[in-house]
């Protein structure tokens, strides 16, 4: 531990990684609370993989076709927003095909990403980076991007906290009270999409899904109100990303994978603690 603190003083990249973990935790804690309570982790996973397709396409267009202005981030935002709108529309039209659309988006996004990265010379190795991210490669510009994301999320949630809560808890009732529930739900999906895009840049597809669901579920058993759940899960995520980074540094392991397994461990322990509490 001491070793990690010393290294933190020496290396700017570790400080950046630590800060990135904390900033990502704010976004994933707040948005993840909605994802978990509304039970749409499947949608979050689907959007995360759709993003992969967008990034692959953008990288291919940029490298092979010389669209120099197009960055992977553009592709990611495009795919995430498109995915959110498609799922929102599938939902609004009703029927039982919503989860088919979600799974299809998941698979197609991943396939498109793999295909275009394969077609792009020199990018084959990048797939792992996008899946698991590389938090130790974060630069100051990415940190600023994360800060902006956190600001946007907190602003939207401050303005729409009550209708979002009502739509997540009892959508039919909210609609009867004149809330435009389809619009509010699509807003929620866009928030999820935005969060995923930014976090993928920092921590990778798989860690995004872990951060959005595991810490939130772990603290969910101990939260009485939605905002408490947001605060607690953001705090727990920060602890997890920090601990994951320290452990990975000490043992020379990939930070993303270590953090995910730590989060899963805490989730299981919280479940056991809750079960013991019920029995007592």
């Amino acid at each position: 531990m001491i070793e990690f603190l010393e290294a933190l003083g020496r290396h700017a990249f570790l400080r950046h990684a630590l800060l990135a973990g904390a900033l990502a935790s704010v976004a994933s804690g707040v948005v993840g609370t909605y994802v978990v309570t509304r039970r749409i982790t499947g949608i979050a996973g689907s959007l995360a993989h759709a993003v992969l397709g967008g990034m692959g396409l953008a990288i291919w267009l940029r490298t092979v076709h010389g669209w120099a202005w197009l960055t992977p981030l553009h592709g990611a935002v495009f795919a995430a927003v498109l995915g959110a709108v498609i799922i929102g529309a599938a939902r609004a039209r009703g029927g039982d095909r919503e989860d088919t659309v979600i799974s299809a988006l998941w698979a197609v996004g991943m396939a498109v990403g793999v295909l275009f990265l394969f077609l792009t010379p020199g990018y084959k190795a990048d797939l792992m980076t996008y899946l698991f991210g590389n938090i130790v490669m974060v630069d100051p510009e990415t940190l600023r991007l994360l800060l902006v994301l956190d600001g946007v999320i907190l602003l939207v949630v401050a303005l729409f906290y009550d209708p979002l809560l009502a739509v997540c808890y009892d959508e039919e009732f909210a609609r009867l009270r004149g809330v435009r529930t389809d619009a509010v739900f699509t807003l929620l999906l866009l928030l999820v999409a935005l969060t995923i895009v930014t976090l993928i840049y920092v921590v990778g597809v798989v860690l995004v899904i872990a951060l959005i669901s595991l810490p939130v579920s772990a603290v969910g058993r101990f939260s009485r109100r939605l905002w408490q759940m947001m605060l607690l899960s953001a705090a727990l995520s920060s602890v997890l990303t920090t601990a994951g980074l320290a452990l990975a540094y000490a043992a020379d392991l990939p930070a993303g994978a270590v953090t995910i397994l730590l989060a899963a461990l805490v989730y299981v322990l919280a479940g056991v603690a809750a079960a013991l509490k019920r029995r007592a």
């Binding site: 309570t37 809560l165 808890y169 009892d170 039919e172 009270r177 009485r224 109100r225």
Partner: protein, 258 residues
């Protein structure tokens, strides 16, 4: 309050695909009625409620609520869904749930105002649930939850309360308590309630609609004193004449408004 009926349904047909759910349904609900909608499961009770709320649109016929189509009059309705449809693990307090009834009476942006909080508290007081306001909704008993959901329906100051099986799976004493509460609320508000138990309902309601694809109104009459003694009953016992068959044909007798 308008002079005409609060709810006016004429020749209403509804079908799920080709499966008819309601056929030729007509009835009026007048101000301060306490109407119980009964009928077998799958008979169309919930469909009727959804049509009154404007969540479904009729295939044929008209539905008017408070003098307009349901989509325009929704905010004058206080709706209480069946409890089973809510996620029991959602992190909300009683106050969080109740104050949702204020949506639609406030701007979409920004938090609830003090006025909304006061209205929610007043509604909780009206349903004897004010002392529960900071408790997590998931920790409440069945009867307490129903009181909170009634308070949520109430705090938008509706003209009509639409309740979907408010007493389902409650102890008889808790049911009694809840009916006493509804009876009290009926002094100032029209109530239309979907229910499966006719025996309890008949003590307070003044009208019973039996929905089984078609809709038939039953007479609710005072039982002669001598007869009620035979049942060793409370003096507010009333009689529901459930005298039609369920083949879907209305009885020859016709309506029984007094």
């Amino acid at each position: 309050m308008s002079a005409g009926p609060v709810i006016r349904v004429r020749d209403l047909d509804y079908a799920y695909g080709r499966q008819p759910a309601l056929q030729g349904v007509s009835f009026d609900v007048h101000a301060l009625d306490f109407v119980s909608v009964i009928g077998p499961n799958g008979g169309g009770k919930s469909t009727l409620l959804k049509l009154l709320l404007g969540l479904l649109s009729p295939r044929r016929g008209t539905v008017e609520v408070c003098g307009g189509p349901p989509s325009k009059s929704r905010l004058k309705l206080g709706y209480m869904p069946q409890r089973v449809e809510l996620d029991p693990r959602f992190p909300v307090t009683v106050m969080d749930v109740t104050i949702m009834g204020r949506l639609g009476l406030r701007p979409t942006l920004g938090p609830y105002r003090r006025r909304d909080r006061e209205a929610a508290l007043a509604a909780l007081e009206a349903t004897d649930a004010a002392d529960l306001r900071d408790r997590p909704f998931s920790e409440l008993s069945g009867g307490q939850r129903q009181k909170v959901l009634i308070a949520r329906a109430l705090c938008g100051d509706p003209e009509v309360l639409l309740l979907d099986e408010p007493t389902a799976s409650l102890d008889p004493t808790v049911q009694d308590d809840l009916y006493a509460l509804l009876n009290r609320l009926n002094a100032t508000r029209t109530i239309l309630m979907v229910s499966h138990d006719v025996s309890m309902v008949s003590r307070f309601v003044n009208r019973v609609l039996c929905v089984n694809r078609t809709c038939v109104e039953h007479c609710v009459t005072e039982i002669p004193r001598e007869l009620s003694l035979l049942f060793d009953a409370r003096e507010d016992l009333r009689l529901v004449r459930h005298d039609h068959d369920h083949s879907g044909h209305p009885p020859a007798g016709g309506a029984c408004r007094d």
